[in-house]
Every structure is written in C-alpha cells, then in structure tokens.
Symmetry: C2
Subunit: 213 residues, 2 copies
DNA sequence: TGCATATTGTGAAATGAGTAACGCTGTGAT
DNA sequence: ATCACAGCGTTACTCATTTCACAATATGCA
C-alpha cells in the first residue's frame, strides 16, 4: 500500500491511544472521540480508518480491537527484525530503557560503542560490542534498523557502515544530515532544531487569542 | 510574520548548515548548493530565503553571513529566555549535555526531579530542584520553554504545572499526548512512533528502485 | 413496525505546500 | 562595448492532503 508519512504517524498514534482506551475497559470509539483525543477532525479519523480497511457502525462506532488489529497488520514487521544501536551514551541508554520490549517483531539485537568501559557488557538486556566489530557482528545478527546516537563527527561514518551491512532504515539523533543511498530510509531528529521551533512558536503564540485545544 | 511549521524547520536546518560552511571558510552559496545539502530543490531554498528577506546575486549567490543574520533575527528570542527541564533521567541528561550553551538568548535555568539523589545538585551546569518546589522556583526564575522527560504517568501533571507557571512552549518526550490550553505550544516527540515509522518505510522501500539521495 | 437520530462512508471542494518556468540582472569573456 | 550565460526573484501552476457535506445505515424507542 502506498501511504503517506503523515498517515503512518497518525496511525501509530491511534494505536497507542486505542491500546490505552482498551486497557481502561473501553471497547468502542466514535471517530469524533478519537479525533478529539488526538487533536484531529472526525473526518480525518474516518478517512484514515477507511484507508486501513476498518469499518464502523453508526450508533456504535468502531471496534477498538479490530482497529488495533488492522493497524498492527500494517505497521508491524511480518517477521522478526533486529535493531542496532550505535552509541550508548545517555541518549542511547534512555532509548534502550524505554523501547526495549515494546515492539512486535522488532527488538534490539546489538549495541555498539567505542568506550572500552562499556563494550563487552550487557546494557539494558542487550550486548554492547566495540565499534570496530560492527561488520562482523552484523553478519551473525542481521538488523533492519539502526539508531545513531554518537557525536556528530562519527555519525556519517557509522551510518555508512550500517548501510553497507544491510540496514534499511536509520534514526539519526546526531546533529548532522546523513547522506546515504536512497534505498536507506533516514529520519534525522534534530533536538536543537526542535527547541528552536518550540521557542519560536511559543513566542508567536503568546499574543494570539486564547482557547483550548 | 505568519510562517509555517515546515518553514521554521527548514530555516533552522539552513542555519546549522550555513554555520558549518562558514566555519569551513565558505562565504557564499548558491540556492542549488544549499538545496543539495539539505535534500531540497533550489526553488524551495530561493523561496525560503525570499521569505526571510534575503537577497542574493546572480553569479555570486547568497552571502552566508547575511542569511545567518536574517535567520537569527527570526528564530532567536529578542531577550533572554529560560528553559526548564522536568525529569533528569538519561534522556534529560543527554539533552542537557548536548544543548547547553548552544542557543542565543535561550538557556537552561532550572531542572526538576523527584529523586532526592539528584535534587540539590548541579547537573551539567544547571541546578536540580525537587519536583514539589517547581512553582516556587519558577517565580524567581521565569521560564518560557519546558522540556518533559518524566515517565508517562507524571507527564500530564508536570505539563499543567509548567503551563500554570507561565510556560508557553513544551517539548514532551513522554509517550502520552498532552492536553493543554491552546496558548501553550506543545510538541510531542514519540520515540516509539518514530521507530515504527522508520521500520515501516524501511520495509516499503526495500523493493523499490535504487539511486542516491 | 416504523420513525427519529446520530454516525458512518465517501465524492467533491478547499486548502496549502512545493515545483516549474521564465523574465531579469549582474558578471566575465570576447 | 557587447554578448552569452548562470542564477536570482517571482508568478502561476500542480499535486497531495484535509475538510465539507450529505446520502446511506444502523440502532433505540414509541
């Protein structure tokens, strides 16, 4: 299916919210309810659910479990895939601690660091290898996704080595824009830029009209 | 000026790149050069620079310093603004370490944590206060921006207390969607969702045509 | 049973972001 | 001095995404 980036983003958020609702005992939702929770219009929600192939009923809404099922069919890898984390500083540890075990068919299979204090140890349940063994390790533990949390100066090289080892998607937290072959999907996360944006819009919003989201 | 979110994002990225070029001794760029570096069309770059009020010259391009100056006028707060960080775990420390001192007129003025092991100390140059003193502290150290890196269960409450204390922009790393009055600009960063998206597009791209970005 | 009502499903319109295209301008070569 | 040309500034257009609007439909109640 050819779907847009924003669509995947929303759908992932739907699933998180729907799981929460389900855990609280709710079994059905209306499009306008989910829309209000996500800050979207009901039409947007209906259209997305339609794209997913979900079908609701007037006066009962959508069955939450069924929607979660459809989203999982779309988002979750059909078979197990590995994640490699390059750089196990504070940020890397934070992500490991938070994300470990949260995905279906997607788990951390190796971490890499250049610091001998860290290598050879198990960090948050995942073995940490020295940087120079990356190619070797990735032969026996193939990974689909790489997460880069090394300093800017080491990011491009790390990315190229991951790509050469067969990684097809990279989340980059280092403050540089990675240059990689097009078949590798790269998501650059610029935390500095994030703060600049929020500071800007916080200011521009200060003088605007009040109200609630 | 009424500008779009994407515009601010691009402009922030331009500045980062232009500063790097400047530090390497380059003083002028063509729109197509900057575009290639950022993965954008030259038309997009020219249009953005036009919006910023920059003017270039055919056969010499744009003066990098002048563009940086214009971007800074737009993005940087006109006077000093404070940032508060709520939650000083791995993620909080990572952001503090990386972002401290990188902004013009924007600096960390307080951090908060509920762990008595951390409170009372100076972390990455910034004082850490106990959570319950937030209101009191923010009276003497007014802040414009808040960063939330607490667990999901504490995020909404933290956000409301920040908002009540006058914060006008929040970056939320906790995996919940914050519900706040509209005058507070909220940017939710969902790291789980990020990984799901990258995993999805990595898969969908695997069978596509090759080529370079 | 049949009506009233609230919500779904979806074509059509509106919005908005990005691209193409082209006249204009300044530079360097002849 | 004139010409050729490469890139800027800007307008018009294209295309994707979102919203509008309404017929279709399922439920509850009289």
């Amino acid at each position: 299916m050819e779907v847009s980036y924003r669509f995947v983003e929303r759908v992932s958020a739907y699933r998180r919210m729907l799981r929460k609702l389900l855990s609280e005992g709710t079994t059905r939702v209306y499009s306008y309810e989910l829309g209000a929770l996500e800050g979207l219009s009901s039409a947007q929600v209906r259209r997305d659910l339609m794209t997913l192939g979900c079908t609701g009923s007037p006066s009962k809404g959508y069955d939450i479990s069924a929607v979660i099922e459809k989203i999982s069919e779309l988002l979750d890898p059909p078979a197990g895939e590995g994640i490699a984390m390059v750089g196990v500083g504070h940020l890397g540890k934070a992500i490991l601690a938070y994300a470990t075990g949260r995905f279906a068919n997607l788990c951390f299979s190796a971490t890499f660091d250049s610091d001998p204090e860290k290598t050879g140890k198990i960090i948050h349940g995942c073995h940490c290898f020295p940087m120079q063994e990356m190619e070797e390790v990735l032969k026996t533990r193939p990974v689909a996704i790489g997460i880069i949390t090394v300093p800017a100066s080491a990011a491009q090289e790390s990315a190229e080595r991951l790509a050469a080892a067969g990684v097809r998607g990279i989340v980059n937290f280092a403050p540089v824009r990675l240059r990689l072959p097009r078949e590798v999907f790269v998501e650059d996360v610029d935390i500095t830029g994030l703060l600049e944006k929020v500071a800007f819009f916080a200011r521009s919003r200060t003088q605007e009209g009040e109200g609630w989201t």
